[in-house]
Symmetry: C2
Subunit: 234 residues, 2 copies
């Protein structure tokens, strides 16, 4: 297979799915929203306050991107009205937010892309210990009625938001215990030009994928880059 | 930079360095020995018993590879006579072996490529907890007089040993706290065709690089591949 193709055999058609993004006013959330909207998806940015989310949505649909279907709502509303819900909140508020949205997220595919990282001067970024093993496993422990998938950890928010960047040259590692759900999220990753969703293992192996973001930050610093990963031979 | 070039600015000339491989009778050790010898290095395979190491060396220098300079020795001898020493032992005996070789390894660059992994039926591979954080940090804690670098975690032993495989299409993440040492190991990785050494952060971020091998095993299973990683934009 070439690098541009999707993988995983017959991935489902996800072109009609609507996407909600919790923590949609952060750079990662806004960046993913922009790319999914560019791919034709209806996207709802969620935030604690609907007005803040709407302001971020207005920001994203200004100028050249006026045609994009991005709206703002509070997190509960964004979760309730979307087929797939991406969790892009800061690690700090991760568990509390998910606990508050259990009902809205029941039965849905929840895509966790949160990286529990700390920063210290002289040490740089490092992985924080997580009781459940990883942010994704914490999400799965809280959202027992949802189908939790981990993905989009290594995607540079800066590149997602950069109008000069047409394609994102990287593979998105997609982890989960539910094949149908990981296939769907792989297909979603493939909707963004240059990106490819590659199955990356089960949720019990999510920690190292989240933590590897610390290494990518070191790489970015050393090489003045926006590093991503490609998986070879796949 | 293209994918085939080395990175990190001016990497040192390492063509004259001799390489010792502890655990040199395992597939990973033999595979690395073969590739380094093909690149012109003098390689000493180390094992508990010199005869076993010599048998492995004879095996590697049979037939088409008769010209390679690979010899066998006990681990202490392999460590003592080599400029750079690669640790490729099973995780089980990692700490004990390094403790026994403190003197021989003093002042040397020690390249740890050990992945502390467990396997369970139905669960597959997963990362084992390590008191010091990672195998590489354990090595650094034991070998206080050595310069410990972590690298070569994701390299398929099968491809290293396959005479049909000329180049290894992957980047080797090189981690360490000593810039001169990581530069040197990056340069060593670049001696193997197709491989590139990319700085991957400090030792406190080695755990997730070691653990990611579990994900690569899942990827290999799903895609029937020998997956490796490339770092994009570097």
């Amino acid at each position: 297979m070439t690098e541009q193709q999707n993988t995983g055999g017959d991935l489902p058609d996800v072109s009609g799915l609507s996407i909600g993004i919790l923590g949609g006013t952060g750079d990662q959330g806004k960046g993913l929203a922009r790319r999914f909207a560019l791919a034709g998806h209806r996207v709802t940015l969620g935030s604690r306050k609907a007005e803040r989310a709407q302001a971020a949505a207005d920001d994203l649909t200004a100028g050249a991107d006026a045609g994009l279907t991005i709206t703002g709502a509070d997190n509960a509303d964004a979760a309730g009205r979307s087929d797939v819900v991406v969790v892009a909140v800061p690690w700090d508020g991760h568990r509390a937010l998910l606990e508050s949205l259990r009902d809205e997220l029941t039965g849905k595919i929840v895509v966790d892309c949160v990286n529990p990282l700390g920063f210290e001067k002289g040490k740089g970024a490092f992985a924080l210990p997580v009781e459940e093993g990883s942010a994704a496993q914490q999400a799965a422990a809280v959202l027992t009625g949802s189908r939790v998938v981990a993905a989009f950890h290594h995607v540079s928010a800066k590149l997602l938001l950069d109008p000069e960047v047409e394609g994102m040259e990287l593979d998105v590692l997609v982890l989960g215990d539910d094949r149908e759900a990981t296939d769907l999220v792989q297909a979603l990753a493939g909707r963004i030009p240059g990106m490819r969703g590659v199955y990356g293992g089960r949720l019990h192996n999510a920690h190292q994928v989240e933590a590897l973001t610390a290494n990518l930050i070191s790489i970015n610093r050393r090489y003045k880059a926006h590093a991503g990963l490609r998986v070879t031979d796949v």
